[in-house]
């Protein structure tokens, strides 16, 4: 019986990858006023960004309920006796905690291991994809845990923001608050370091910001996985993907939209590159 892999909607995995690798995705929730949506299920990225730019209400996100996890664990316990759960950074969300607590709610006997990815978006997604592939190939739980731990320092991301207002309002801005309040228009670049949001650079135009994302990827010696993600700025993402095609086979670049839960904290105009590899 192979190990089953579980993650959350923040990993931004494309549906076809989820299906192909048999990954279970637990949705976080997005609330617009009184309406609650399950991330990526009741609310697609397209609908969300349309609503985000038109709605006067500011979206709020919340963690999945313990019951959501328990039901998913219970279902998988019928198919396997080992489950590996890879969650978004515990510094950004309590989802990791809920995933751990929910183990206690299971009736079936099944081993569940939860790993804090210290990351998010497809940087987290790559950890999940690699684990799921190895699990399908027969890797044991110990081997998988060892592999994910080894891979965590090998994933990284750079994100170009149009505004830091959403990140600030959502309380996730961390050290990047140093970039707030500039008396000039700034296009900030942000990353995550050990689970925390950190500032990288301040550029003076969108074009320069995108150039920085490109240079970041170009600085890699070896690229294993690459993703270009966007929140309501498909043209920028497409042209960046075209350029990155010169560094890495274009057909292997994941070109996705960030999930609504991420979008609620970044606002529209977010363009990011996520990578797994060696510098």
């Amino acid at each position: 019986m192979s190990v089953k892999v579980v993650t959350d909607s923040v990993a931004d995995l494309p549906p076809e990858v989820v299906q192909e690798l048999g990954i279970t995705v637990i949705p976080l929730n997005v609330r617009f006023g009184q309406k609650v949506y399950r991330d990526g299920i009741d609310l697609t990225a397209e609908q969300f960004y349309r609503e985000l730019t038109s709605s006067k209400v500011f979206p709020v996100t919340s963690v999945p309920s313990p019951a959501t996890f328990a039901t998913a664990y219970e279902k998988l316990a019928g198919e396997t006796d080992e489950i590996l759960v890879i969650m978004l950074s515990s510094t950004l969300s309590a989802t990791y905690e809920v995933a751990v607590q929910s183990i206690g709610l299971m009736k079936h006997k099944c081993r569940v291991e939860v790993i804090d990815s210290r990351s998010a978006v497809m940087a987290q997604g790559f950890l999940v994809i690699h684990a799921a592939r190895a699990a399908a190939a027969g890797a044991t739980m110990e081997e998988l845990i060892e592999m994910v731990r080894r891979d965590i320092p090998r994933v990284d991301l750079r994100a170009a923001f149009d505004t830091l207002e959403y990140l600030r309002r959502g309380g996730r801005i961390g050290a990047a608050q140093a970039l707030l309040g500039a008396a000039l228009k700034i296009n900030p670049i942000i990353t995550m370091k050990n689970g925390l949001v950190e500032p990288v650079a301040r550029t003076r135009s969108r074009k320069k910001a995108i150039e920085q994302l490109y240079k970041f990827i170009a600085s890699y010696k070896k690229i294993e996985e690459l993703a270009v993600e966007e929140a309501a700025c498909p043209e920028d993402a497409d042209s960046l993907t075209d350029r990155l095609g010169g560094l890495f086979p274009k057909e292997r670049i994941y070109r996705t939209k960030t999930t609504p839960v991420i979008g609620a904290h970044t606002g529209p105009g977010l363009l990011l590159v996520a990578v797994m590899g060696d510098k």
């Binding site: 050290a175 140093a178 500039a182 008396a183 000039l184 228009k185 301040r202 003076r204 135009s205 074009k207």
Partner: protein, 529 residues
């Protein structure tokens, strides 16, 4: 009235947090006082009747139950003093208030095992004194008595740095005292019927005219670790607060024991919280127990202070003239500004003072003028600190260097990154000719607008716009994305907007930004990147 005061406090609690350096620089005084007042008000609404005695009693109870932190506990003592003095009163007048505040002051001092002047204690004492004097001389009007209270509080708060060394070093007033002033001020505004104005305004924080000799990080770093901040509510029968106080006095610092024989709030900074809890639980039941590791609290505070500036261990000092430009540099992370520029070069001493005044051992200087680079370079030989001068000759170069500052890189790497950023910038400066001249092909009349490109005089025209357009036409605009126009002190914003919209029409692909630089001498400083 107190509810209004609480609302008023809420608006400035974050500002008060930022003042907090004593007794522990953990930056939570405003929040603690606010939470205490909230609990006070909630309880006030539960008072059995509307008499002064019942409401004051309920407030004192609410404050005691909800008191958080040092400042919250002292606040609860103040309210308890009020309640005791108003115990038999149906309503109260100015004289009653004066005598009640006197009682508050006494109670506040009584609650603290080691009272320190220059804190909330001093402020309530001064307020009580002023109110008594006001009643004695002018009598009965409640509003004038509150005015006297607020004025006395304001003066007393402003004086706190003179009484307490640590406040003087930080160049701030006492946070708890400030909180008390804000509460009294809120109450006064309510009495005056200023509810509407209060909705749209924010309380003013009293500013000391002393300058900080140390930055907040340094003060925090000077203090030694203190173990655990232990706080709880003890409920029981026939509690003897004096005895408890005596028993705990040697167990730690910042001890506060307040309450009555049925409930007491205890706050102490101790290395052995277990002993305290064990002792207290032998006397009654414990509620709202909070034990926080203050080393962590302290670390959080340091982080909070650090997060305010981008450069944690490297400070940047920039030479800038003009208020708007100073704002631009400060907002982008410059630690200290030395006023100066064209025709007003700062001295080596000015720069040295700025360098010595910042908390970091590594300092980058941005001279932003050709004639200041040499002066800046001399600073290195006069200080123990490691100084690097990034040779910026114009304001736009300074901004570009600052923006290029890399949070992840070390000092050496940053110097080369910043130097590289300078070369990607073109600077246009436009001012009026001080005299007529002939320079190469250029015939210049006195007071005519003239334009410099990276320091070289290259154009003259009838208007600033004409000069700018002449200069832009010579540049390769395909490589340009952003133009930032900083207009000077003598230039009208309409004119600057006119120049900007003309460029926008001519070059719609460019991003044009107009900023009030407020600089002397130059009508326009323009960054082209």
């Amino acid at each position: 009235m107190f509810a209004a005061a609480t609302g008023w406090l809420e608006k400035s609690s974050a500002d008060i947090d930022a003042l907090n350096v004593f007794p522990v620089p953990d930056g939570d005084t405003g929040t603690n006082m606010l939470l205490t007042m909230r609990s006070t008000i909630e309880e006030a609404y539960r008072a059995p009747d509307r008499s002064a005695a019942a409401v004051a009693q309920a407030m004192a109870k609410g404050a005691l139950m909800g008191a958080r932190g040092n400042s919250g506990v002292i606040l609860s003592q103040i309210l308890r003093g009020l309640a005791q003095n108003l115990a038999a009163k149906e309503s109260f007048n100015a004289a009653d208030l004066a005598s009640a505040l006197q009682e508050s002051s006494v109670m506040a001092y009584k609650g603290i095992s080691n009272p320190v002047e220059g804190t909330m204690l001093t402020v309530i004492k001064d307020v009580a004194k002023a109110v008594a004097a006001e009643v004695a001389s002018n009598g009965r009007d409640l509003v004038s008595v509150m005015e006297a209270a607020v004025n006395a509080a304001g003066e007393s708060v402003a004086n706190t740095p003179n009484l307490l060394e640590v406040l003087r070093e930080a160049g701030v007033v006492d946070a708890g005292g400030q909180g008390l002033h804000t509460i009294l001020d809120g109450a006064l505004r309510y009495l005056r019927g200023e509810m509407e104005q209060m909705r749209f305004r924010k309380p003013q924080i009293i500013i000391t005219d002393l300058h900080a000799t140390k930055l907040p990080q340094m003060i925090a770093a000077d203090e030694v670790p203190y173990g655990y901040c232990t706080e709880f509510l003890l409920k029981g029968e026939k509690l003897d607060t004096d005895k408890i106080k005596k028993k705990l006095e040697k167990k730690g610092e910042s001890l506060i024991v307040v309450g009555d024989d049925s409930a007491a709030r205890i706050h102490i900074h101790t290395l052995e919280p277990g002993d305290i809890i064990a002792y207290a639980s032998s006397l009654g039941t414990l509620h709202q127990v909070s034990i926080r590791n203050m080393d962590e609290q302290h670390q959080d505070y340091l982080e909070m202070q650090k997060a305010k500036g981008p450069a944690v261990d490297t400070a940047i000092v920039a030479v800038v003239a003009g208020e708007g430009l100073a704002d631009v540099f400060t907002s982008l992370g410059v630690t200290a500004i030395v006023p100066g520029g064209q025709t007003m070069n700062p001295s080596t001493k000015d720069l040295l003072q700025a360098v010595e005044g910042v908390a970091s051992d590594k300092v980058i200087i941005l001279p932003n003028n050709k004639n200041i680079i040499a002066t800046a370079s001399q600073v290195q030989s006069l200080t123990e600190k490691k100084i690097e001068v990034v040779p910026t000759t114009t304001i736009p170069q300074g901004v570009a260097a600052l923006l290029a500052f890399d949070y992840e890189a070390d000092l050496e790497a940053n110097i080369s990154i910043m130097a590289r950023a300078i070369s990607a910038i073109k600077t246009v400066e436009i001012c009026r000719a001080v005299r007529s001249a002939k320079l190469g092909d250029l015939q210049i009349r006195k007071k005519q607008p003239i334009g410099f490109l990276d320091g070289d005089l290259v154009a003259v025209g009838e208007s600033a716009l004409e000069v700018l357009n002449k200069m832009l036409s010579k540049l390769d605009l395909n490589k340009i994305e952003v133009i930032t126009i900083y207009y000077g002190d003598d230039t009208k914003s309409e004119e600057a907007e006119q120049v900007a919209s003309d460029i926008r029409n001519r070059y719609p692909q460019l991003q044009i930004e107009v900023v009030k630089g407020g600089q002397p001498h130059y009508n326009y400083i323009i960054s082209i990147e």
